[in-house]
């Protein structure tokens, strides 16, 4: 089954890391990616820039309405995603727990809908 792992964290609360800390963090993310790839579960992933770079588009009564920022103000913001192919929810949850962001943020595990599972 295909699952989307949506990663949320509070941008306002991101600590300032030292260069050594940053390197360790980068290593942790790299290691996760490698492990998921080796296990054959990784279908895709990407990271996003800050919500301050976001634009929200709504079309109402034929008019395009643009707002600066994310769709809603939330305490944690979407930071990126992983798309995984797993046996079942238990496996998807195991992978979610290994994501470095899970230590300080939230990882939402959601299955792709029934038509998207086929692709």
């Amino acid at each position: 089954m295909k699952y989307m792992l949506l990663m949320y964290a509070s941008e306002a609360e991101t600590p300032q890391y030292t260069p050594e800390e940053q390197q360790a963090i980068a290593q942790a993310w790299y290691a996760f990616g490698q492990e998921a790839t080796a296990a054959g579960v990784l279908l895709g992933n990407n990271g996003l820039t800050s919500v301050t770079d976001a634009t929200t588009v709504r079309v109402r009564q034929g008019k395009s309405l643009l707002t600066d920022g994310p769709f809603a103000e939330t305490h944690e913001q979407l930071a990126g995603y992983y798309l995984l192919e797993c046996q079942d929810l238990d496996e998807a949850v195991r992978w979610a727990a290994k994501i470095p962001l899970a230590q300080y943020g939230s990882v939402e595990v959601r299955p792709l809908n029934v038509w998207s599972q086929k692709a």
């Binding site: 046996q87 929810l89 299955p111 599972q117």
Partner: protein, 413 residues
């Protein structure tokens, strides 16, 4: 028993096992539930005429399977149905006399999967394994039938859509999953045992159902599995509490404390059974909190009078329990037990040490009030009772505390 009552009793007894087997074959919870409901409708019609069949479970499973195939053929969305149809068509239809395999262990763990909301776990366990109707479960939790139906439908959909696996958890997850399952069973028991007001028969039903589920769980797990010790511990604990059920409230529906209960009305058969189950648990040498709590309950149950209670042993057991599950509840109970064993003057300082952590916990203030009263500090005791009353949410317990406060005020004149 009338035919209708016999049929209903049968449905109740078979529901869990049939659904578990059906779910194993179909892999789709909502479909399995709907197909079983269809089969129950068929059964109501046929059994009223032909009588209850020799093997009702197998009859229901076979017919439910056919109804599932019918539903799949009629279903609009193509995506899943072809897979299930192919699997079903390739299997031979089981004979109506065959012993249906017992997959209830898988079902129990699935219903109590941690990714379901706790209230959904409880509702699903009662409905699916307990065979309670939606209406009965709704009454037990004081929600409308429509609300409960929605809760159940959502839970089954999530199980299917999110890919919750239908299996007994692997060894590395088994301890925490079993803990979660036991917590749900105990929650069901307490819902029946502690709640006051509402439907009394339903309350008793919940206690019996929780005990039955624990029995089933003990029967299905490998007997030498060390984790079974805690399952037995919980079963013993519930049996020992249930033995006192008749004496918990008096005729006016007011709370009667353990030391004031009429022990001649305690169910001795349940007490003997509880102690036997606890003894079996202890042979596995895998101690845990439920076993300790059951041991405490057993000491109360075995004391012929309140005065004969072995408080020293109970205090020691609370000490053990505190090490296993450190919690303010346990610490308060331990101080109370020490006060009973060694006197209020010894227990009170132990209790007062908990003041900061227990400020919002009404049993702490109630215990404090009692010990202050016993050491003749009446004004402080009255104040403590007042604090307990202000914090207490349970009407029977609040009424009990109010009576004590009134008594005290009368004494102080």
């Amino acid at each position: 028993m009338t035919v209708a009552a016999e049929i209903e009793r049968c449905f109740r007894a078979e529901h869990g096992r049939v659904l578990a087997a059906l779910l194993n074959q179909l892999g789709d919870f909502p479909l399995a539930e709907d197909a079983l409901q269809d089969a129950l409708v068929n059964a109501l019609e046929r059994w009223a005429i032909d009588g209850v069949p020799h093997n009702p479970g197998a009859w229901l499973l076979t017919v439910a399977r056919r109804r599932a195939i019918d539903r799949l053929r009629r279903a609009e969305t193509l995506a899943r149905k072809l897979v299930i149809l192919e699997t079903l068509d390739s299997q031979e239809e089981p004979a109506m006399d065959d012993e249906i395999p017992d997959e209830r262990l898988k079902l129990m763990f699935t219903c109590c999967h941690p990714t379901l909301a706790l209230e959904a776990q409880v509702a699903l366990t009662l409905h699916t394994l307990g065979g309670l109707s939606t209406q009965e479960v709704a009454r037990a939790f004081l929600v409308s039938e429509a609300t409960m139906a929605k809760r159940l439908v959502r839970a089954r959909s999530k199980i299917r859509n999110a890919g919750i696996p239908y299996c007994v958890p692997p060894a590395e997850l088994l301890p925490e999953r079993l803990d979660a399952l036991l917590a749900v069973i105990y929650l069901i028991f307490n819902e029946g045992y502690v709640a006051t007001g509402g439907d009394i028969p339903i309350r008793h039903e919940l206690c019996s159902e929780a005990i039955r589920l624990a029995h089933v769980l003990v029967a299905l797990l490998p007997p030498q599995e060390p984790l079974v010790a805690e399952v037995r511990g919980l079963l013993a604990l519930m049996l020992l509490h249930d033995a006192r059920r008749e004496t918990r409230l008096d005729a006016a529906g007011e709370l009667v404390l353990l030391q004031e209960q009429d022990r001649s009305r305690w169910d001795q058969a349940k007490i003997r059974e509880g102690i036997a189950v606890l003894d079996e648990a202890l042979t596995l040498r895998h101690p845990g909190p439920y076993q300790v709590q059951a041991a405490i309950s057993a000491l109360h149950a075995e004391a012929p009078t309140s005065a004969a209670t072995d408080w020293q042993q109970i205090a020691a057991l609370y000490h053990t329990l505190a090490k296993l599950v450190p919690s303010i509840v346990v610490e308060v109970n331990r101080a109370v037990a020490v006060a009973m064993a060694q006197g209020a003057a010894v227990g009170l300082p132990m209790l007062l040490r908990l003041a900061d952590q227990a400020a919002d916990f009404y049993p702490y203030h109630a215990a404090r009030a009692d010990l202050l009263r016993r050491t003749n500090q009446y004004e402080a005791a009255a104040d403590a009772y007042a604090q307990a009353i202000a914090l207490c949410g349970n009407s029977a317990e609040r009424a009990y505390l109010q009576r004590r406060l009134d008594e005290l005020n009368r004494c102080m004149g």
